[in-house]
Symmetry: C2
Subunit: 429 residues, 2 copies
């Protein structure tokens, strides 16, 4: 195989003809395959079924300090649930508040509270002319949806292989007081699977933002979502690093068990400094009497401790690893030498990102759809849905069976090749 | 017994001496009794323990339409959960969104959304100079805490035996565009136990508010919380009544199963017109991917249908009824003829309100505390914690055992008598 761009027009046209025949063959099969959603598969969900047996009517539903988990009370979470999630995200349990089932909901509420009441005594954002957020791109569309919903201006920051471009971030936050936050998925990032380097985390902790109420929104969604046991990424713990750097209040850390136990029926939490937690609790005690403690107890009784989570995540990895490896192997075999795009090989998380030649992503996604393969819409991983280069495609390997995924990947590869040839042919004109 | 105010100073002093001896006797016992909190008792919680057995690893966790409840998705709730709660609050399931565990949280979020984004296209409240809410008093302190937190000015509206003073409400809402809402607990109201009369509900539905974005916050917290099966209050369904009156969008209705299954681990919901629900969902889809569907399924499998809830609530009534009756009997026997206060005899809900002579409530609560009986702080059922007449005391019979409650009620009665005598003696000076 030689790179497409080194091929003559005739060679490209010949290759195209061959690929179109293959593409039509897939089209005629009337397939319905889905690589669009970061959802666990059914066999991953089955891994947690025994969680349904740890709290039956035979069990005592009191936690260690004697609190009856069935009744009202306990605003910030059961002590043993704080220990479990604290160990998971490497935080002191005292720095944690356990919420309901959704870390996205915590992030939304955090932004909403900042809008109406401000951050630790600073002016509420709704009283300011302009509020801006930095958005490492590509990133998580639901993050961007929150900031867009609140009319917060989003500024793209390119992702590098070490994490977001820190030179740019340092410059922007130190100059512009309107910049109040940055969205980060620091480990096995959504969608690329990149883990921020040690230097990146240290530079984050040492930011000198112009805005006193600037906060890093550290969405540690994939903290224990390794594909390999030994060969896993390490991320420096940001709360401790911020404390060491003299910026203890600069970060909110979010996590959930959505892709550990059951999405929608897991636990979510925020970790932050004592000052931030105090600020949050002032609001939280008005918003609710408390979150679902029975479900907190259920998680504690099922996982027991962090080792329980480690072992559990190995089972998830066994389901996910072959899917990731199949896709990456296929890309390596089918696409690498053609030089029609690039990708990062993640060691964890839920996504692989394929970066096409400029201007091809939408085309690939549309083409795949016509052959029965649903992908995340091109542009989705960018603020306002606009990928400036139209090149990023997020691939979600988790939900389909390996068999379906293998077929979908083959079709995707054909679509990438076709779109790349089209682009090169057009460029020649 | 004759009314205290008809007694001579000498008779009052003699009575006081006798009561003080009794009070000191209680004080010396070092009691710790609690009538402050509207929490179910342990035996009430035990009634729902079998809910823990309906979803074990042997069960299929799919709902009727095949959705796997363990995975992501379903923003507005399982269809069968909507039917269950719809039957409970007499609404079309299509007019319902199921949320997480807390109706208070829904109310908070509703106010918060109105602040930042406005109601159905109207100006966000945070952009207005002034926002006001009507607060029937006495009312629920957590309602008032939300409006206070958002800097919304609260205007007291007196409760009558038929519900809030509708003459005043009609006048205020038609004149003042800054009035954006009213807090209502229309059935077995918190804290008096009053159910709004048919006329009251009809007049609510026919309000002509100056503000287009005026909404009735109809917190139907005690919709099925009857003490008696036949002798129960009936409340006209407000959504249908508003529709009939040409005001379909004027009401948000809230409910939860907190005092039906487990507080903190129940289901909460909002019911409203299609227009309102559309407005809410625009925000909700940014805030979360969905609420806890496994818990929704658990409730549906446990209660099965509205008849299941009816039968279940009869068991709750068996626990609560003797407590309510004991208190009301004691008041009737010990306090009525003295003419030192008044109360309403509720047929459901969670509270009894004792209204003392003017200026005595704080004194009674403080006195009870010194004898080991904790009451809800006087003033709590009013905006800003200020009871203008210092006369309202909320009593929560549910949590203590009948034995403890009987003792606490005796002590309370002694405190009421002593404080009343003090007041009358002072008036004589």
């Amino acid at each position: 195989m030689q790179p497409y761009r080194e091929m003559s027009k005739e060679e490209l046209l010949k290759e195209k003809e061959k690929l179109e025949a293959e593409y039509r063959k897939y089209q005629h099969r009337g397939l319905q395959l889905d690589m669009s959603r970061g959802k666990p598969s059914q066999d991953q969900l089955d891994l947690s079924m025994e969680m349904m047996d740890v709290l039956t009517s035979d069990h005592d539903l009191s936690c260690d300090d004697g609190t009856d988990c069935r009744n009202y009370g306990v605003l910030d979470g059961l002590p043993e649930a704080k220990v479990l999630l604290g160990d998971m995200i490497e935080c002191n349990p005292d720095n944690i508040i356990i919420f309901g089932n959704s870390s996205l909901n915590i992030m939304y509420d955090t932004i909403s509270r900042s809008m109406t009441h401000g951050v630790m005594g600073n002016t509420p954002w709704c009283k300011l002319d302009k509020v801006k957020f930095l958005c490492p791109v590509p990133g998580y569309d639901r993050h961007f949806a929150i900031t867009e919903y609140f009319g917060i201006e989003m500024i793209n920051v390119p992702m590098l292989s070490t994490g977001p471009d820190m030179d740019l971030i340092e410059k922007l936050v130190s100059e512009d007081e309107a910049i109040k936050g940055i969205w980060c998925v620091p480990k096995y990032s959504n969608p690329q699977g990149i883990t921020y380097s040690d230097e990146t985390v240290r530079r984050f902790a040492r930011l000198k933002p112009a805005a006193k109420d600037f906060r890093i929104y550290w969405d540690n969604a994939y903290c224990v979502h390794h594909l390999y046991d030994i060969n896993q990424d390490h991320l420096i713990e940001i709360l401790a690093e911020c404390k060491r750097a003299g910026n203890p209040d600069m970060v909110y850390k979010f996590c959930s068990t959505s892709k550990i136990s059951f999405p929608g029926s897991g636990l979510a939490a925020i970790a932050a400094s004592a000052n931030n937690l105090e600020d949050i609790k002032k609001q939280l005690c008005v918003q609710t009497i408390g979150h679902d403690k029975v479900n907190q107890l259920r998680h504690v009784r099922f996982f027991k401790d962090i080792y329980g989570i480690t072992e559990h995540m190995k089972k998830h990895a066994e389901s996910l690893r072959p899917k990731f490896e199949m896709i990456l192997d296929t890309f390596e075999r089918e696409l690498k030498e053609l030089e029609v795009g690039s990708w990062y090989c993640p060691k964890g998380g839920y996504f692989i990102t394929y970066e096409t030649l400029e201007g091809c992503a939408k085309n690939v996604v549309a083409r795949a759809k016509k052959a029965g393969v649903v992908m995340t819409p091109a542009g989705a991983p960018f603020p306002y849905g606009k990928d400036p280069k139209d090149s990023v495609i997020r691939i979600s390997p988790s939900y389909p069976s390996l068999e379906d995924l293998t077929l979908a990947t083959k079709i995707f590869v054909v679509c990438v090749k076709l779109s790349s040839i089209d682009k090169l042919l057009k460029a020649e004109v």
